[in-house]
């Protein structure tokens, strides 16, 4: 019972809205109220509306703030619908009405949660942003209408529709209304919330962009003209030209362009359907419009995802090239170390002798000899250390003192820190902390993290280590000087560090706090609990 209770309480804790969420929920409730009334313009018998923008608000909020807000959103909708008089507490059937109101937001939340869980595991373009959002935007309305099917069968009077065909029509209307609402409203809201990189790009006008705009306008204009022509000669209102046009525009110019084309089509179509139209005709129009919207948005999202995948691929290629260059550099530096170590051996021997024989000579000579000897010794130690670090040989894992590991890393990156005018500080470290592992690999992992911190910005880098249960927690924190932008790296060092740390049974996390400090924290199991 205890684990179940613990799980439930942690679930409750995670879905409870945080303080930062409250304005969003309140705003949502107001926007929901307004859009719910706007939607009534496209209402009809047996369903609420053929265009339901509130669904778009809902998915935008769920996507941007996370599916954990699902219960809060459902609660907000319940409150709004009580105010609207849809739910009258105490009246007959009010429980069913409550369930009917809460069902769509709960379904939406479940779909968004599922899509977000599954997307990272997809290997195809479907898993690349913005495809998951597109899939969620289509799946949520479909799922919501499918979930309401059993309820509608059980209580036909709820939808006001009796008979199979009216029931299906009602649910289809519901689905189409939500789809249109989601597709038309959610994308611009999400762009606005996420800093609208798309709009800034759209706003920049250059020759290529003008050409693209011209092409899109030509394609869409031709399609619309064709549709109007066909309608004028009495051949109905065919949807195919518009469908082809938005698919073309979406695939060619991406999601933003696709959505704009869809908006144009919707803006032309929707005013016709607010008036008194036969239900079947209006449904047909809205279904056509929904398919145009879905195709346009999917095509655009797919094109964006492809472009992003291509960028990722190019980045991976660059990483590969860099790895190749590093390999060459490594071979070169090993050779250089060897070339240095040979004459350095001679210098060190002679310098130490010189120091002895110069001890009784002129103080200036003695001092100079002692200095040369000291420097030769320091250099010798550096060469030995570098060689061990660059060595190919893989040793057996051994118990390594954390303090010594950090000292070695600090000695190796010290010159780089000085060159970058960054202050490298190391907190006193308990000498009794030992980890079991490959010395070279672990120092490589820590070195990568420290170098990442050094390269990120000018300022200071702090290294600290402390025991935490049977693990040791090593934190590498960099504090940027004010008005300093972070310089992003290639990310190879971090990947390598993570692989090494995880192979040693540890974890690596990165957190940034509000002040802009970034802390890379690695934990490693202690050897023999700190013997």
């Amino acid at each position: 019972m205890i684990p179940v209770r613990a799980f439930l309480s942690s679930l409750l804790r995670s879905v409870r809205p945080r303080r930062a969420d409250l304005p969003w929920i309140a705003g949502y409730a107001v926007a929901f109220l307004v859009s719910h009334h706007v939607a009534a313009m496209w209402g009809g018998q047996g369903f609420y509306s053929l265009l339901y923008p509130a669904a778009g608000l809902r998915i935008a909020l769920l996507w941007s703030r996370g599916p954990r807000l699902t219960p809060a959103i459902a609660m907000a909708e319940l409150v709004v619908q009580t105010v609207n008089g849809v739910i009258v507490p105490g009246a007959p059937g009010w429980i069913m009405a409550m369930i009917g109101v809460a069902r769509p937001p709960l379904t939406y939340g479940a779909v968004v949660w599922a899509v977000r869980r599954l997307a990272p595991h997809l290997r195809s373009t479907l898993g690349v942003a913005p495809m998951p959002l597109a899939i969620g935007s289509i799946a949520a309305p479909v799922a919501a209408s499918l979930v309401s099917l059993p309820w509608a069968l059980w209580h036909p009077e709820l939808t006001g529709a009796d008979g199979a065909s009216r029931l299906v029509a009602s649910l289809t209307n519901f689905m189409v209304g939500d789809l249109l609402g989601v597709m038309l409203v959610a994308p611009p809201l999400l762009w606005a919330v996420q800093g609208a990189p798309g709009w800034r790009r759209v706003a920049r006008i250059d020759r290529g962009r003008m050409l693209a705009l011209g092409e899109a306008a030509l394609v869409l204009g031709t399609a619309m003209a064709l549709a109007v022509l066909l309608a004028a000669v009495g051949l109905g209102t065919p949807v195919t030209p518009g469908l082809l046009a938005v698919a073309w525009i979406g695939l060619r110019f991406g999601r933003t362009a696709g959505w704009c084309a869809v908006l144009v089509v919707a803006a032309i179509t929707l005013p016709f359907t607010t008036g008194p139209l036969p239900l079947a005709e209006r449904l047909a129009l809205h279904m056509s419009l929904a398919s145009v919207v879905v195709v346009g948005y999917l095509a655009g999202s797919f094109s964006d995802a492809q472009a992003k995948a291509q960028v990722d691929l190019a980045r991976r290629d660059r990483m590969l090239f860099q790895a190749e260059r590093l390999k060459t550099l490594r071979a070169m530096s090993v050779a250089v170390i060897h070339e240095i170590s040979q004459p350095l051996s001679t210098i060190a021997i002679e310098a130490s002798h010189l120091r002895v024989i110069a001890a009784d000579a002129d103080p200036e000579i003695a001092e100079a000899a002692a200095l040369i000897d000291r420097k030769a010794a320091t250099l010798s130690q550096l060469v030995r250390r570098l060689r061990r670090f660059g060595g190919r040989a893989v040793d057996e894992p051994s118990a390594l003192p954390v303090a010594a590991l950090i000292d070695m890393v600090a000695a190796l990156v010290g010159p780089e820190a000085k060159a970058a005018r960054t202050v490298l500080t190391i907190d006193p470290i308990d000498p009794n902390l030992f980890v079991l592992g490959q010395e070279i690999e672990l120092s490589q992992a820590m070195m990568n993290l420290v170098r990442n911190a050094l390269q990120a910005c000018d300022g200071s880098v702090e290294i600290a280590a402390a025991r935490e249960g049977d693990m040791v927690r090593i934190g590498i924190r960099n504090r940027c000087a004010p008005d300093q932008a972070m310089r992003p790296g290639m990310g190879v060092g971090g990947l390598v560090a993570r692989a090494i740390v995880e192979a040693h049974g540890g974890t690596l996390t990165r957190q940034a706090n509000a002040a802009g400090d970034v802390c890379a924290t690695l934990t490693l199991p202690l050897a023999g609990a700190g013997q």
């Binding site: 060897h338 060190a348 021997i349 030769a376 060595g391």
Partner: protein, 198 residues
């Protein structure tokens, strides 16, 4: 093969390195520490003269031209089993470090640039070991073939009776051989005899 001189004489150490300056520097360092040290650029030249002037200790680089340090060590050992060998390298690897000690009988494996004290300690240890080996060999060199057989069995802890049985001799003969061995090696009792065999 001549012997490495009386114990009072300076110990002889050869340094083999294809870096002339380094070889000379190490030789001077060892001279300062009381050894008669001589640098060699080419291991082949040292091998050609070694039999006439054997050393107590040879300090050799591992990575050299035609003949590497390990091959050279094997060849020197063939000529003189009583020489101590110390390896040094600018390309240290764990595998080489293990090999140099276990397979090639190296006394130490030094990474360049060296820790001076460790080099001097290794050479001193090598010289002491070599002197002991030479002393043992000098004292057992005079034994006849039969006496050597008896010696080898006695130092294993066998009694005269068992030795006689193993070699198919009479106990009296074995006792005679033992007396001859004691005289020739100057050993004073079984314990010293066993110490010689080490």
């Amino acid at each position: 093969m001549s012997e490495g001189g009386p114990d009072t004489a300076r110990s002889i150490v050869y340094i083999v390195d294809d870096d002339r300056d380094l070889g000379a520097a190490v030789a001077r360092l060892l001279v300062r520490h009381g050894h008669a040290a001589e640098p060699f650029l080419d291991p082949a030249i040292l091998l050609s003269v070694y039999a006439d002037a054997p050393a107590h200790c040879v300090v050799t680089d591992i990575m050299m031209g035609d003949l590497d340090g390990f091959g050279f060590a094997d060849r020197v050992r063939e000529i003189d089993p009583a020489v101590a060998i110390v390896f040094m390298t600018a390309w240290p690897t764990t595998a080489n470090a293990v090999d140099s000690v276990r397979r090639y009988g190296g006394l130490d494996y030094l990474e360049k640039p060296f820790d001076e004290r460790r080099l001097i300690a290794a050479v001193a240890e090598g010289v002491a070991w070599s002197r002991h080996q030479r002393a043992v060999r000098a004292r057992t060199a005079a034994l006849t073939a039969r006496e050597r057989q008896v010696f080898d069995l006695v130092v294993l802890g066998h009694s005269s009776k068992v030795v006689a049985h193993l070699l198919g001799l009479s106990i009296k003969t074995v006792e005679d051989h033992r007396a001859a061995i004691m005289t020739k090696t100057g050993a004073n009792g079984l314990a010293q005899l066993i110490a010689l065999a080490r």
